[in-house]
Subunit: 319 residues, 6 copies
């Protein structure tokens, strides 16, 4: 795994009740989750500093304990290992993408029993990561659960592999079938008609946020995962943080009014985390340089990731 | 229509899937909606830059497609025509008001079959616009549906025709009956007792937000419109953006805690848009110069306007 | 009451329909509520400007009328008297704490029939105030209703009487029994496991926000107060404003995602205010120097306080 | 002086070493300077909250002592008396202007030996004040020393008496001769050619900032006052705060790059204050609602005013 | 010139005294200056939104008149023609760079008598533009006058053609000799020792800001240009806006303390503009999305550009 | 040195050309400068987050190289060793003060040949540090060079050992003679008359900024140090960052208009650093939580510290 480098600094304190004391470097011990960053956002259509998120994500750990009050559950027995960041090239976007793909292939192969969690970067990294998974498990059918305001099926022939294109890259590239992509959180006026036509044509399952709310967002997400799991061998979950409402996620350049509340995302992730077929997850498009003075969005990012882990631990317990 | 001038710049691109490519100048073709701005806010009791909204509203169009995901509906067949802005005088507020009234009279007379949509400006413009409608249709009884945190019945004898007075101007001026004014969204401690006494005395129908939420805000709004329509010939809808909660609408100087969510406003406007008796709408009191760095409030403003149009298109379809 | 000083300025206007015209200095007339400030936040673990809140709280009164639209209720008959602020020492935190305790003792003794309302300051002031109440009524059993994201049971042996310790001070000091402390609003990853162990061991009643929402937060709060009232003689209510979600309360340094909405807090306070056993309330940890440009958090602070008073007036009426 | 009202609140503390303890209401004792506010900015061409400045100016006094370190001089013997604010009408700009004019006439007549200091408000108030002075002293020739980035000779026939027009109002109205207007601080590209043509035609003396800096700004200002004093009976000084550079005065909507430093303004005002022919001064166009989080611009405003007073005291001493 | 596209919108008003009314599209009439944009900043080492500058630069024109007060000079006779922006690819940085190079070659060939002015984008665009000039005039020796806090000689072998590398690209590529590069404005601790070693080795002429101030920055710049002109056939001027101090240019990601004042830059540009050997200029690295609420940095950008044009007009006059 | 703890994280990279790669922990090798932090600001009269500065100071190192362009000088041979931070108590200010004093005593005794550099915290830490030095060298006469907007001679009898009192603590405590205190940078209206009286009475040497500028600030500082050195055995330099102008140092709560420019401070520190009698320095009162989005103030803080080291290295070279 030549393309991984450790974070530029490390916490001094290795024991205690907080998240920065709990997560260890990859080399140490057994592994439940492999964490790795892809600090790339020059592939974004609009200006984005999402490349800064992996570092800010780690900085924020200190503000979180491993104890979850809602479930009366301590996460500390779950072994999260930080593999560091994929080394990005300054100007060669394709090379950066190849490294993400290759690193993902290596990590998912090596740590087959672990969950992998990729911290973006922009949404272009998802196409790389899913291709990496596919190369590791070429005979498996991969499903994608996407929480996003956008379809991400813009044409790479026009834009190159930019952040608006990953789902189309994967469908057109034969990595994932359209019918195996579920997108929940769509709303409003943020996808143009031709993109919707493409999605319909390829059978992408689209659930608008209003529709999801009729059932309860978390419940709807759970149902959709269960449906998806019937068709596929493993599920890759991708959380575009712009699925959140602009009032709660100011630090996501493409967030919009009419989006998800933080609580809806949190409760969905507890459910998602409990599904054994979910094997990979990423969080993308959070730009810490645009965040509120309170760092509210980065805090939501860490919280959301811990909710997913809560789901994992709840599932372990049940076994 | 001597008092209208085109926006100071125009989009280069006239075709495509986005709102700025869809809206045309008034001179071109058939008309479903006539859009016009009243960039006036020196009539505000408190400092306001709502005069900047018509321009920022148009700038934001580029971020919205004409396709509505919630209804799987493309708005592009609905002909919105931009008449430009009413020319405001720098210091003569009464003259500016007269021009809004006269321009409204001309537009509603000329485009009788179209819906008119006025972009304020502060709430003082509503009194002018409703008077203009009344002059065009002197024999019709006009109802007002107001979404507002305030009653707007302060005394023009004291303040002149300021933004706190429009409903009182219209009632005292015999343009609209108190009983034909429905205000939904009132809450908290933002109207003083004497103003409430005036409103009760004149029979204004007041629905607090908590009350509306018992039924569901959108449903309650729909019910109220249906009740109102029984009594009046046409309905003028006025959306004071300060009806929104201060956390979601930082760019409205008078927004407060305890206000409406964006989603409640959006769903209400889809319902409102479907009523044939609703003929006129305005959006007022949004000050882009106070908006968040994300431009969240202006984005809500455009979204809300598109939700109303969605309602119009849904109604057209049904016919 | 030597340790009280009047605010550094006073409103000129003493009559009218707004809150700043309604609240009078303590010396004047009968008293329903005694208001006093404790401008202390150098006792905070993290940097806090909550010491600035008593002054900003008073400045914001001008933006609120005494009329409550939701209940169609004018609060002006309820006599709120402002005792001013406890004089804080610049560097001697213990001395400041003693003054808060002693002043509280004096005020609750002198104005036994009135409700006391303390405006913090950080949460360390609550321990002082409750001790003051206990000294005034040594034979009464005091219950605490706490709305907070945190347990506040960190160890004063380590930190001194800092803002993370008040509940532990009171339990370890024999002032309040653990079982008489009810904390509603806990959520997420913001309390470490050892603190939760302490709370369980001492029988603190803990209700997570998700749990509270199943019943409705306000309804749940009411139920909990009713339960508590069965066991205790008087209830002290303490509102740590960080119970609010970070998106609605940017001006609270410790606010987090996943917290309460403003409306949930408001409706809870109307209920709380109606209980006769509730005799004391404080609002703490709001730092106006971190507030949004809209002053949204300070506005929520004043609104919340008025909702509690609304509850008081509703209860008076029923009698 | 019916049109004056006291500030809405008053400082409690009346003795001490700070500015808020030193300035007294107008009714008390002898008078060296009469201070009055004109909280009007709806007459501004662009959106302005300069109407908020008189109140914020007074609030900031607490941060300043009466002792001037640069001159080793205590100002406390100089009697500043606060007459309050001229009552503004909410929508009738002409009426507000008349009141400023009439109030100025009354104050300069009544307190003939005192210096008057008007706190704006936008620059439209200067035309009113100078007319008021002229009505009080119809036989005197009035000179104007203007520190401004702009000429303020736009045409009132087009704009009405807006903030871009005061100098033209006074010249065209025969109140002041063009040759008796000295404007220092002009620079860059912020006055259009036709306005410069008007200024040249009427003999306005224009000194660019670069030119002034060749001599030293304060020294140049002094020279210009001395020249002016030879021609006129009394000098009215008007400080448009937009003469300051945009980097130092973010709270002035029209401030620009290439403007004056705070220190250049301060040293100029010490010199200006020392001239006995200078009888009136105003400070205009500072919008506190646009100020930096540090309140840097309001602090400059108070500092600048104190520098002028320092000049006055230095002159008194010499006598 | 296939790779040029017009701005996405255009000003309505084509006559008047302001900059937006003066600049015309390239197709119209004679040409003194050809203006073109290169909205590229994904080539920046750090996150940058400098790609947004060409559009914001044009939007800001409305705030500037064509009359320069310092020189009593109207620029309106000087024909500035806007060629629009080079079309950038979303992810293929090399292709974008080629288009800038080719477009520059075409423009400087076609408009040989005009000055070209490129609006970046980040500093990587300068290497492209200078190569384009070289291709148009292969037999001419090109000198570079660079105002920058950095040397920009990082190694493209490591970074690719990123914004830290343009000078090295040009020297190593044989386009420009090291001795023909003059960099003024260097200061502090913002260039690492190995880069300085490279610069010394290649004979780059480096003038620190403190050194330049001893003579006066503008005067020093003029001297350096005169020296440079002796050696080269034409001078390409590149203004990295990060040469400005961080206090005056918050909207430049790499600005630092200890940098140039706006006035020093302005006066330098008046001098630079007067040299006939200066044929090309660019302004780079200004990120409007990081600018102050006052837009101070964009205003400095437009002002600086006008100062250069002032120099041009002064030189024309002398002829 | 029991009261020191290492920073909570450490940089991974230990070699390279940047400051974070150059500074080593105290345990490693020879020592030219001992660096230590005192993260205390709950002793501030006004709210301050200066306790956050030691950590933010270290974080910012990455943005600075060790090469100084102005002097063509690489600092890397100068051995800076980071001793970490003095452990502060959460609520016991006196205990925290004692630890700073004791730690300083230990460090200056142990590393007698090295320069000590203390990073505050607020100005209260200076009194502790100077007392620590005095205890280590009881027979030496200590001089203080203070760059400050304030005298810091408020009465500890009233405030306790707060940040406005350190100079008075030292004079009244017999640690330093009034005549051995030189304060440069005083200006404006920020010290009350009684404090100035105290300073005069005790012979504190006060140089206003305007006075210093007559000679050139750096030159004046140098002269004053030379004068001071004649009288004392060693000089302790204390830089209150509020000596800087509010426009350049927004992240200092007490900064004011009329203060020093960054360049004046920088050049002064190069001179100060060259004096052999200067043995100790501190930088205080910088609150990173109030800094601009650009982090301009923290950048100035690091830059200023490096300028002092530049002086040290220049002096070493001369030997
Ligand atoms: Ca996406
Ligand atoms: Ca998206
Ligand atoms: Ca209204
Ligand atoms: Ca309203
Ligand atoms: Ca608490
Ligand atoms: Ca708490
Ligand atoms: Ca002016
Ligand atoms: Ca001006
Ligand atoms: Ca640079
Ligand atoms: Ca550069
Ligand atoms: Ca100090
Ligand atoms: Ca100080």
């Amino acid at each position: 795994m030549n393309n991984l480098q450790p974070p530029e600094w490390s916490w001094r304190d290795a024991s205690g009740d907080f998240v920065h004391q709990w997560v260890k470097p990859l080399s140490e011990g057994s592994v439940d989750m492999v964490l790795y960053g892809a600090p790339l956002s020059r592939s974004s259509i609009s200006v984005s500093g999402a490349s800064l998120y992996p570092m800010e994500f780690r900085k924020m750990w200190k503000g979180f304990s491993t104890y979850n009050f809602d479930e009366d559950l301590d996460l500390s027995s779950y072994a999260v290992r930080d593999a560091g960041d994929v080394v990005m090239h300054t100007t060669d976007i394709l090379l950066s993408h190849e490294r993400i793909e290759e690193t993902t292939r290596e990590l998912v192969s090596t740590y087959n029993d672990a969950t992998t969690c990729l911290i973006g970067g922009d949404h272009s990294v998802t196409a790389c990561a899913v291709r990496g998974v596919k190369r590791a498990f070429p005979d498996e059918r991969i499903g994608i659960l996407q929480l996003d305001t956008h379809l991400d099926v813009r044409d790479p022939a026009e834009l190159g592999p930019a952040n608006g294109t990953p789902i189309r890259q994967l469908i057109d590239g034969g990595i994932v079938r359209g019918e195996d992509v579920v997108n929940i959180g769509l709303h409003g006026y943020f996808n143009s008609a031709p993109l919707v036509a493409y999605a319909k044509e390829h059978g992408i399952r689209m659930v608008t946020l209003r529709k999801a709310r009729e059932l309860g967002v978390a419940h709807c997400v759970e149902q959709q995962v269960e449906e998806l799991v019937k068709r596929v061998d493993r599920v890759y979950v991708t959380i575009d943080m712009d699925v959140l409402d602009i009032a709660v996620a100011p630090g996501v350049p493409a967030s919009t009014p009419g989006g998800m509340t933080a609580e809806e995302l949190f409760m969905s992730l507890v459910r998602i985390g409990q599904h054994h077929a979910v094997r990979h997850i990423d969080f993308v498009c959070l730009d810490p340089s645009r965040d509120a003075a309170t760092n509210a969005t980065v805090k939501i990012g860490v919280y959301a990731w811990l909710e997913f882990i809560t789901g994992r631990v709840l599932a372990q317990r049940r076994k």
